[in-house]
Symmetry: C2
Subunit: 473 residues, 2 copies
């Protein structure tokens, strides 16, 4: 019996025959990423149902020298959760680990297994009258384990931080198959190195997250949503500072949009509102309060009136109902789909110091217009976090496929400017396979060397998601 057959037999003995998938039909959805950029192959897709089974699978793979690609909802944007084309790896699908292990309302914590979808985690919190704030477009499929392994961002970072800040404890299967139980539910714990930080955002390359203790919060019960027309990005930065002072932590969202993405969103979905036509830039402002009767709309209205006085905003519209608020958010959230309907486009998930965003936008537009005459800028993003989805569409009349040949050149212009402004070439989507080369270009070699030494320490045989973040060595 060859080595692979021996391993498959051992895996079937661990998880049961029906949880080791090998047919093309069964494995196909696990072998290509959500954006359909990265097609891989695998020896099998293995679906353990418990942490003990995950550990046994890892030990079997360690013994066989077989790489393991941990996978949750497989909704990542950088190809981190699919195997390479060699067919030598197994995919370890974690979606059967989907139980709530504990909820502690008085401690405001929720202990969940890694394979629960983010939506199910949110529902478990809500079911106990609490609130888990992590939220992103793929939440119906994305798993909490994947969210943590990629340090997911989403729409509530301005107030609640990234996934990293929402995790109090982890359970992790290590590369040698040992289980580290770090499921602590403490706000303060200074007993040595904070090991969980190593696994958060490591994209499954240092260990396999099987469960987590999450922070919960009191749910928002009063909300205010506003739309503001702005003269330019500098005004948006000033307005953001003003609203932070007026609202403190009740400011939970501040989304910047240029006129073009708003127009594209409405073109794709004509029923959407057009509250303030004719301006070059817009901001969508969200405020939340945990008190049921807070005077939040009044505070938002007063702050925006003062912003108009100060020239930071040209006009504002405040949602008068939950439906109006929802329509404004749909206008924002529909942008990515609307742009996709226009054809392929060149995307960048970048972050910058908030103060540098106006200069970056000006410099990038000048450089890109010179390189790609007529290029259209679909600029939008979470300004409150300094995170822009800085996307480029083909000039009117240019076939999008022709435009896409300029991707590498456009990336170079954008990422060089990001680096010059002290920014990041991957704000929230991670590195995966997609940005390994860009990482080597922009990261200090000393930092790459430190990352490699950490990888070698925690996964000396290199079996955990090899070739992701860092190239294989």
């Amino acid at each position: 019996m060859d080595k692979d057959a021996t391993l498959l037999g051992r895996l079937e003995a661990i998880v049961g025959r029906q949880q080791v998938l090998t047919s093309d039909a069964d494995t196909a959805p696990h072998l290509i990423d959500w954006r359909r950029y990265f097609q891989g192959r695998a020896l099998a897709v293995v679906r353990p149902g418990t942490t003990a089974e995950v550990a046994a699978v890892v030990r079997a793979c360690r013994d066989a020298g077989t790489p393991i690609v941990a996978q949750g909802g497989n909704t990542g944007h950088c190809g981190g959760s699919v195997p390479d084309a060699s067919g030598t790896a197994i995919v370890l699908a974690l979606t059967r680990l989907n139980r709530v292990r504990a909820i502690d309302v008085a401690n405001a914590t929720l202990t969940v297994e890694a394979g629960m979808t983010l939506a199910a985690v949110q529902e478990a919190a809500a079911g106990s009258g609490m609130y888990f704030p992590l939220s992103l477009a793929a939440e119906g499929s994305a798993t909490i384990g994947g969210n943590i392994a990629t340090n997911a961002g989403g729409t509530a970072v301005l107030r609640f931080g990234n996934a990293r800040e929402l995790v109090l404890g982890l359970e992790v299967v290590l590369a040698d198959g040992q289980v580290w139980n770090g499921l602590r539910s403490l706000r303060k714990d200074n007993t040595g190195y904070d090991l969980k930080q190593l696994f958060i955002g490591a994209e499954g390359t240092l260990g396999i997250i099987t469960a987590a203790v999450l922070k919960l919060f009191a749910p928002p019960r009063t909300q205010a949503t506003a739309f503001a027309a702005l003269p330019d990005p500098a005004a948006a930065v000033a307005l953001l500072s003003r609203l932070k002072r007026a609202l403190g932590d009740r400011l939970t969202g501040f989304e910047l949009m240029a006129a073009l993405p708003v127009a594209l969103s409405r073109k794709a979905m004509p029923a959407l509102p057009d509250p303030l036509p004719g301006h070059p830039w817009y901001a969508l402002v969200q405020a939340d309060d945990t008190a049921p009767d807070a005077p939040l709309p009044t505070v938002v209205e007063a702050a925006l009136a003062a912003a108009i006085e100060a020239g930071e905003a040209r006009d504002v519209a405040i949602a008068q109902s939950g439906e109006q608020a929802k329509a404004l958010w749909t206008l924002r959230e529909n942008i990515a789909d609307a742009q996709r309907q226009e054809g392929p486009n060149i995307k960048h998930d970048i972050s910058l110091p908030v103060s540098h965003i106006p200069a970056f936008i000006a410099e990038a537009e000048t450089a890109l217009r010179a390189a790609f005459p007529g290029v259209r800028f679909v600029t939008f993003g979470h300004l409150g976090d300094g995170n822009l989805h800085y996307n480029l569409s083909a000039p009117e009349g240019t076939p999008p496929k022709d435009f896409m040949t300029g991707t590498a050149a456009a990336n170079r212009i954008v990422h060089d400017l990001v680096a010059a402004h002290g920014g990041s070439i991957s704000a929230e989507h991670g590195i995966g396979q997609a940005k390994r080369d860009e990482l080597l270009r922009y990261k200090d070699p000393l930092e790459i060397a430190l990352m490699k030494s950490i990888k070698a320490t925690l996964d000396p045989a290199g079996i955990l998601n090899p070739g992701k973040i860092l190239h294989r060595t």
Copy 2:
């Protein structure tokens, strides 16, 4: 010339002769910890003025195989910042690295050198109309580098988190003398392993922090302070949940105090108020809002009135002026000094899931009364963070020195119960030298092994603060 003399000459050439202290008078304050429990010796105290000098000092020590004990304000509670008694190490005093490198109000970030005092950092933020929330008793002497290296907690953790959550970027001198520039000022950056997390809370054992980028916030401009009399700790937990719902993030402090520590504080400082005499437990509640005219006192008052209705509080007093608020906080902050005036006492810096605190207090009192008849419980702490300063004073009439002989036995009772409740034996003070043995007792051996492997990776020669957190190997 012997090895030590050669090293001292090299150090003098790097930092200048007057910055290499060797006389007893000059070095003495650097060789004993703030609580005067740990007296060490050193080859010299070296005071570099720049990061480049720190790096050169580290290279010289690496070449000589000489251990380096990094030291900020030397205010730690666990002996982490003083050398051992061998006299073989140098103390690297960082207080001359005390410059503000940059402040960016629009990005809400402040870049400072490690040797600035926490108070100076707070002032630098305030000078630009911003707010840095980390605050603790020793802030006039403690340095920001030490705060980060020990992941300091303090009085604002409930809302703002520990020091770890306030750091966006670090500059670190590594064990081989290379300088890692991780001074990023981004809210989102998913470009590989988050290396700064390794150095935060590592007590100078993995690298030497020389500068940091800190998060700033809009300053609080409306405040409300209240004092509540409570029937028992379970009522305190219920009141905390109620206030979180009413106030959200505007609840910035929730301090629990038993009647005895309040009485001791007033005995030591009789001018302090006694707002609600005759109850067994008290809570000090602090709320802050960034808006200048927020209806905060009204919201606090309504929530506390509802708490009385629900039986969670027996009586409440709301501060009617800034002076009254300050007096209530002094009542709380004076407890540690007041207890010290009564004689030595047995201290514990523990954390628990908030929901477990009532049961822990009941069980610990029963066990300790059995072991130490008449023992007095000076129980207080940051209930909002699950952090108790669980201190024990001698029975009336017992000389405190006799009582202190029971320290190890009392620690065993308290820490065993903490472990049984999923708590931490060091909530905010770290491990240093003081709790190395306790760490070995309570930490999973797998976690100790992981910590050792990280230490060996980043400091293979073992020259960075050896014997702190982990015993030398």
